[in-house]
């Protein structure tokens, strides 16, 4: 049955309000950032409004469909999205960077579809009662499911989006039963890698890693190979690093935000910080932000929309939007916790993780504590595909919440 009279009552009203509030605030800021005589962008407000309307229709549809449809769709959708990701590398549009297919004025990014398809397929795989996440094989397969689209997207190249895929693996596996210790063991080499460039930081990292392993009470069979692995990563990393060309090093450093070119990414972040910082507690007022209105702030209606908020609505505006995001994620956890359907519960965890990752990276980037990766802010940044994907994720969460007492 597609329609249930009690649907509205069962929908998580707080989540819906947080979602709607973010969309309205987003529209307000997009208007401020794009109004003016420039015909190229002053239509963006109305375009975004249309996208939001389409989003609401999509949301209703996604929320109403029985959840088992997604369970059945998961594998074919995954295969289809992988094929699309391969196709875009050959026939995609764009000079140098091949990310999308163009149909007239519309652009379509296979990576957005792949995000949802991979989420569904990974959730389906993890939800299978045969899975045992103590086995190396099952963990490896889960990583392979995510690794394939990740590598294809890195080839485009679009590192920011690729990282979204990586980010959803551990939360889903952890929710599906992976032990906290295993999560730690999987994260440890990344810590090692980052610390391997000075002996002091490397030493601290090793002490920390061994400490956690010893405290966990595992036997030497687990501790020794993992210790050797981490030491190995620590030794090999600087050697590999030194073999890179300078431009490659520079590209990586710039990517993770350690090296900043004056009028490139560093300039963007500086202007963003100036916009946010100058906003103060109450902001300069809607359409009154000088950094925004005089276009000192780059990418202001897309990646740096949060800086516009910070400048024109101050810390108060920032607080309200972050609280709305927090509420949305918090309610998603409630749904995941109370859902009786393991697959739906895992989808909710994955969907909220994707949203959370975007929010954290984007809002961190605008104040300079995260690298500039080009990830948009869900619901606020201008752009149809980002908006529709985020709305679809919310739809999946709402759907799961609506049917949390259904087993199948």
């Amino acid at each position: 049955m597609l329609w249930d009279k009690d649907d509205l009552k069962k929908a998580d009203i707080v989540l819906l309000i947080a979602f709607s509030g973010l969309l309205v605030i987003g529209l307000l800021i997009i208007y401020s950032a794009t109004h003016g005589e420039n015909l190229d962008i002053n239509q963006n407000f109305s375009k975004q409004a249309v996208w939001i309307l389409i989003g609401w229709l999509l949301l209703a549809l996604v929320t109403m469909l029985p959840f088992k449809v997604y369970h059945e769709m998961a594998f074919p959708a995954y295969i289809f999205s992988i094929l699309l990701l391969i196709a875009v590398l050959f026939w995609g549009s764009g000079a140098g960077v091949k990310r999308w297919f163009a149909f007239g004025p519309f652009r379509f990014q296979p990576a957005e579809i792949a995000k949802i398809a991979t989420l569904l397929f990974l959730a389906k795989y993890a939800a299978d009662s045969k899975r045992n996440f103590k086995s190396f094989r099952d963990i490896a397969v889960a990583f392979a499911i995510v690794g394939l689209p990740t590598l294809l997207i890195m080839k485009q190249p679009d590192l920011g989006t690729a990282l979204v895929f990586v980010a959803m693996v551990l939360p889903i596996l952890f929710w599906a039963g992976l032990s906290l210790f295993t999560v730690f063991l999987l994260i440890a080499p990344i810590i090692t890698l980052a610390s391997a460039f000075t002996f002091f930081s490397f030493f601290i990292a090793m002490v920390f890693i061994i400490g956690v392993m010893v405290v966990s009470g595992r036997g030497p069979k687990v501790i020794i190979p993992n210790f050797i692995l981490n030491i190995g990563v620590g030794i090999v990393t600087p050697i590999l690093w030194n073999q890179l060309h300078n431009y490659q090093k520079s590209r990586i450093l710039t990517f993770i935000g350690l090296e900043q070119d004056p009028r490139g990414l560093g300039y963007q972040v500086l202007q963003s910080k100036v916009a946010i910082g100058s906003g103060g507690m109450w902001g300069k007022g809607w359409m009154e932000g000088t950094q925004t209105q005089l276009r000192f702030l780059p990418e202001q209606h897309t990646d740096f929309i949060f800086s516009v908020l910070g400048e024109e609505f101050g810390f108060l505006g920032v607080l309200i939007v972050l609280v709305l995001f927090f509420l949305l994620l918090w309610r998603a956890l409630n749904i995941a916790q109370s859902s009786k359907n393991v697959f739906a519960s895992l989808v909710v965890i994955g969907a909220s993780t994707i949203i959370a990752f975007h929010v954290i990276v984007n809002t961190g980037m605008t104040v300079g504590i995260m690298p500039v990766t080009g990830l948009p802010l869900p619901f606020l940044s201008y752009g149809g595909s980002s908006l529709l994907t985020s709305t679809l994720l919310v739809g999946l969460i709402l759907n799961a919440g609506r049917r949390r007492f259904q087993y199948l």
């Binding site: 906290l180 946010i276 100058s278 920032v318 393991v342 504590i369």
Partner: protein, 591 residues
């Protein structure tokens, strides 16, 4: 699901993670927005606010009757913005077609003055409204080209006195580094010659500034009213002593000639008219001047850029006989009644010196010799006076030194003396022939026409003269009574006896009114004029014509000098212009 670690605990891990992350974000935002707000606010103001200088209007220049000689009218400057100028070659070529200026000039200025991607570079100035309209029509094909209003000089009176007015131009590298222009910036427009240069600091005014809001591309968006701006202080105005009406008349009379006229006010040395021909249209320099036009001006054999009245020295011809006469009388070396017979030539050793009148003047005394301009008389007399006295009296009448007029590049002339000849030809090796040449204003004696006018003034006033000057009053246009009058500088020749002056005046009176006077054509009828003609021999062509004098005879008000290169006889060519001048002054009731 792992039974050992409940979903409840797992959800707590997630919730803790979210709480920590959101607190970290909020703390970071609070730090940037609440603690560092001042730093970032200042930075955002620095981003958007730019001080710009406001150019003061340059002082207007008027004639003695308040008629405007030099005014300002809006003109336009064309700028290129490097950041938006994608293809300078094609854009400049097109712009060159529209403005009729070779594209290389744009390239030259663009290369020279380019500072940054967003700073506009002035590539052309003084574009008129019509050219601007053409530019505006083709705006879409000129990306990166903008224009701004910048006043240019305009000469509404019809007076075309380019040498007197001078012209404006962009300050050059040398000027920028000099002490004199220490408070000037690159690209500033300054006076390059004439009164525009001499009175630069007075006409210039003081720059103001205001604060404008600019966008990320450096484009001005609006004026920021809250920040106090400093309005520019307009330049002071000049009132020249020039009489525009007389100046126009003389310019017209002498339009086809080479030479000029200098008319001085006997009462204070004010220059009432100063004409140098050929000239050029001063508007030339108030428009985009092309290299071609500039080359044409500098290569013209008639030298139109040159002020013949002030900047060049030449032989004064017979007008200079008066110096010999004064020296001889004052030193009692000439008896004015002594007669000399002029057969039309004079023999000195084996050389023959001709009088201008081949048939000779017969027997003449001093007064007649001045009236008829007899060379032979003065050939005889100079030998009595001697070189030393001649040089002494020349100097006494301020020849060989600048008059001190407030114009640029004045030439001092040169008065040879014994030391000079000894050095040049060897002591005792030069002949009296050189002296004979000097007395009739030939040879190594060089004077400027302005010096001759100043000399006429000294004679007219019996030794009480003034240094000539063109500026009368410096006025503040804001407050009408704030006027600073030019201080007249006396120029005095002391000790000449009254009877000497009487004789000279009588001789000069006869030049116009005597039966055999050489300048009868100067007689205007109503008032009496005194003067002296001169016809300077010119080895390169026709003689140069001179006529100096003063009027009215009894109570001199104007002193004048007319000079016509290759004009022939002074009486025939220069005297009629003097009459026209006096007739005009009489008609206008100015004398």
């Amino acid at each position: 699901m792992n039974p050992g670690f409940s979903q409840k605990n797992r959800v707590i891990i997630f919730r803790l993670f979210y709480i920590v992350i959101f607190i970290v974000l909020l703390v970071r935002y609070a730090y940037v927005q609440l603690i560092q707000q001042d730093i970032y606010y200042r930075q955002s103001e620095r981003n958007r606010i730019r001080p710009i200088t406001l150019e003061p209007p340059r002082g207007v220049v008027r004639d003695r009757f308040e008629e405007i000689l030099i005014d300002n009218v809006p003109a336009y400057s064309v700028y290129a913005i490097p950041n938006e100028l994608s293809s300078p070659d094609s854009v400049f070529a097109f712009l060159g077609d529209l403005l009729d200026i070779p594209a290389e000039e744009f390239h030259m200025k663009y290369k020279r003055d380019r500072r940054g991607p967003f700073q506009k570079v002035k590539i052309c100035q003084y574009v008129d409204f019509e050219a601007l309209a053409r530019l505006e029509e083709n705006k879409l094909d000129l990306p990166g080209i903008v224009y701004g209003v910048e006043p240019r000089r305009f000469y509404p009176s019809g007076v075309r006195a380019p040498h007197l007015f001078g012209y404006l131009g962009e300050i050059d590298e040398k000027g920028l580094q000099s002490e004199e222009y220490a408070d000037y910036d690159r690209g500033d427009i300054i006076g390059k010659a004439g009164i525009e240069k001499i009175y630069e600091k007075i006409l210039q005014g003081k720059k103001g500034y205001q604060f404008v809001e600019v966008d990320a591309l450096g484009r001005e968006v609006s004026v920021i009213e809250e920040l106090k701006s400093q309005p520019p202080v307009p330049g002071l105005e000049l009132q020249l002593s020039i009489d525009a009406g007389l100046q126009r008349l003389l310019e017209q009379k002498m339009d086809t000639l080479r030479g000029g006229a200098a008319i001085l006010n006997c009462q204070n040395g004010e220059v009432i008219a100063l004409v140098s021909k050929p000239g050029y249209d001063p508007e030339l320099f108030a428009k985009p001047i092309t290299l071609k036009t500039w080359k044409e001006l500098t290569n013209d054999p008639a030298k139109p850029l040159f002020d013949r009245m002030v900047q060049s020295g030449t032989n004064p011809g017979s007008t200079y006989k008066i110096i010999t006469a004064i020296a001889g009388l004052q030193e009692n070396l000439i008896n004015p009644e002594e007669k000399v017979f002029c057969p039309g030539y004079y023999r000195l050793g084996r050389r023959t010196f001709k009088c201008w009148k081949a048939g000779g003047h017969g027997s003449v005394n001093l007064r007649q010799a001045i009236e008829q301009s007899c060379n032979v008389y003065f050939y005889r007399m100079i030998q009595k006076v001697g070189l030393e006295n001649w040089s002494k009296y020349s100097r006494m009448f301020h020849f060989g030194e600048k008059t001190g007029i407030d114009l640029t590049h004045e030439f001092s002339g040169s008065v040879p003396d014994k030391t000079y000849f000894d050095r040049r030809y060897g002591a005792g090796k030069w002949s009296t022939g050189l002296l004979l040449n000097l007395t009739v204003g030939q040879g190594e004696l060089l004077v400027t026409p302005l010096q001759m006018a100043s000399f006429a003034l000294l004679v007219a006033n019996r030794g009480y003269g003034y240094r000539p000057h063109v500026n009368r009053i410096i006025k503040n246009p804001a407050t009408d009574d704030d006027q600073e009058f030019f201080e007249h500088q006396p120029l005095i020749v002391q000790g000449i006896r009254e009877d000497v002056w009487d004789l000279i005046h009588q001789g000069m009176y006869d030049v116009v009114y005597g039966v055999n006077g050489t300048a009868k054509r100067a007689n205007p009828g109503k008032i009496r004029v005194a003067g002296k003609t001169g016809t300077a021999q010119n080895p390169h062509g026709e003689d140069h014509a001179w006529f100096i004098g003063f009027a009215p005879y009894k109570n001199p008000k104007v002193a004048f000098c007319f000079f016509v290169e290759n004009g022939g006889g002074g009486g025939a060519v220069a005297a009629p212009i003097a009459r026209a001048m006096l007739t005009y002054l009489l008609r206008e009731d100015k004398i």
